[in-house]
Amino acid sequence: MDGYGGIQVSGFVRFLESLDRRWIYLAMAIAVAGPIIYIGLTGKTLPETATPAAQAVFDAIEELPSGGHVLFSFDFDPASGGELIPMATSIVRQCAARGHKMVFIALWPLGAQLVDETIKRVITADYPHMKEGVDYINFGYQAGNEAVMKVMLTDFAKAFPNSSNGTPTTQIPVVHGVTRASDFPLLVTISAGYPGAKEWIQYVVSSSGGRIKMVTGCTGVQTPQLYPYYPTQLTGMLGAIKGAAEYESIVNDAICKAHPGTTTPAKYLEAQRRMGPQLGAHLLMVVLIILGNIAFFAQKRAAAGAKS
């Protein structure tokens, strides 16, 4: 007997009902680990086609004249690094390849260290001709959340009086001519929550009267909250690891076209590598949802049969 008023349900449905959830966890671990190992050993990644939101991020950086100022705000910490570090890496790479002047700030305490790591990984390693203070600068973390944004709108040097290594802002060549946030034609936020992309839109982009273009790379959790701002208040958006993989593939293609014969280093394929585990996990979830529905409708049918 099976608890449905004597009506028999199949053994398979009973198996689904009594399945220990830990077997599902194990299946998920295998679904994620399998593609990681396969991609890690073979180096093969899945092809990506850019959506308009990811393409808009690429276009916004490309359209900026070479040597234009880009303000980066690293508003995340290592907990979101799995999604956001590949975005940060690729955006900094595109800006460095275009010769833009990069100014880095962080409104999350650990963002400052992530800026340093990104600079080492991309600029120091592959664009050694770029000089700190002349082509890029890290202003580090500043406490105050929205208050920092509001102060930046009127006086950048007041919000960030020194760079992270203690050089006074007035003595840093890369920010000569920059007095307020609206002097940056492009703002890039890598955002994991509060304060992040939403606050930048609310306190800086909206108040600048359209003088600042903003693009963002954000976590999957934030993406649905930011979609209403695209494309009017938010020029472009990389949503979750999928957005990162799309953008990474456009940047890699563009750089390979500009320098024929070069291969893309593995560090610039991180997001595309992570799409394999996504595929495995999503396929498993689709199968589980189908099985769950089969069990649900079988139970319902059995219960209806028992009543009649």
């Binding site: 830990r22 194990l26 990681i36 890690g40 305490p109 929205e146 208040q233 593995a266």
Partner: protein, 334 residues
């Protein structure tokens, strides 16, 4: 609770594979560092009485294991690249805590509790340190006594204007008043700084929300229902026109129906009821999309941790070419 036989088998297989990986070939989970001598020359400055001097120190930068292998092959007695015990222990601790957190999926256990307690303790301490060194010292103390802070704590502290200095004294007073919450008799005093905080926050938020969410979003909703699209030559383009118009209609209908759903002054019957029902569908699709994105984010984080375990710890994969060993050799650990 006892482990079931199947789970014991799974656990033993995992332990056996890790042991095999650790004991064969080039091993696993080691961090190598390279000596990078640093020098700073300080020139004499008569104005400040600074004497000329040279400061030297050693930094150890992490390098991929293949650099160590190459250096050893060239000179087995070299010491410029060596294994860092401290960083290696850190790597193994990271692997242990990752597995300890994962172990909760099986069931609650002491390993998980240790990892959880460490996370909470480290986070609390970290935020206290950040709060002290990034807010209290540079902003409050630096605002009140910039010269003292510059001399003894932060050499980069800049002077404040008179009004900024006064503002900092006000901030100090409000901060002390807020701490009166801890007093049973003077708790009412903390209501004043709370009122200040709420008032300032509300003022800031109202303006920004009206500008960016209410007005800008309302403007973005005024879309043409028939959005005529033209190609590069200026000719009418049918399919883009259909798709763009359809997208605009969906946005406008969605906004109206969701607003109707949240309009409770009229009973949800007839046309209003049908509109509210469509609104529910829109909301459900939105929640589904949000859930889907959340799942994608979590899977990405899981993948990142597994990559760490397989790459940095187990040396099972090498996507970045850090160890320069071919695929077959990596699998068997030669």
């Amino acid at each position: 609770m006892k482990l079931s036989k199947a789970w014991i088998v799974v656990l033993l297989v995992v332990i056996a594979l890790i042991s095999l990986r650790a004991m064969t070939g080039q091993g696993m989970g080691r961090v190598y560092v390279k000596a990078a001598p640093q020098t700073v020359e300080i020139s004499a400055d008569a104005a400040t009485g600074t004497e000329a001097k040279t400061i030297r120190w050693m930094e150890w930068h992490a390098v991929p294991p293949k650099d160590y292998t190459a250096a050893q092959a060239a000179d087995p007695a070299q010491t410029s690249i060596q294994m860092s015990w401290a960083r290696t222990i850190g790597l193994w601790m990271a692997a242990f805590f990752t597995l300890a957190i994962f172990s909760f999926m099986y069931r609650d256990n002491p390993g998980y509790r240790v990892a959880e307690a460490v996370i909470i303790g480290v986070s609390a301490a970290y935020w206290m340190v950040i709060g002290f060194w990034d807010t209290i010292v540079p902003k409050l103390l630096g605002g009140l006594t910039p010269a003292f802070v510059r001399e003894h704590i932060l050499p980069t502290q800049i002077d404040q204007s008179f009004t900024q200095n006064i503002a900092m004294w006000c901030a100090l007073a409000l901060g002390i008043m807020l701490l009166m919450r801890l007093s049973s008799k003077g708790a009412w005093i903390s209501l004043w700084p709370l009122a200040f905080i709420i008032g300032v926050t509300a003022g800031l938020k109202i303006v920004s929300h009206v500008e960016s969410d209410l007005l800008a979003q309302s403007v973005a909703t005024f879309k043409p229902l028939a959005a005529v699209q033209r190609d590069a030559s200026g000719a009418f383009d049918l399919m883009p026109t259909i798709w763009k118009s359809l997208a605009n209609i969906l946005v406008v209908v969605g906004v109206l129906c969701c607003l109707v759903y949240f309009f409770f002054s009229v009973e949800h019957k007839g046309l209003v009821g049908r509109g509210a029902r469509v609104g529910i569908w829109y909301l459900m699709i939105t929640f589904g999309a949000a859930f889907g994105f959340t799942v994608m984010g979590r899977v990405a984080l899981l993948a990142a941790r597994m990559e760490f375990l397989f790459d940095d710890w187990l040396w099972l994969i090498d996507p970045a070419g850090k160890r320069a060993v071919d695929v077959a050799a990596m699998i068997v650990g030669i």
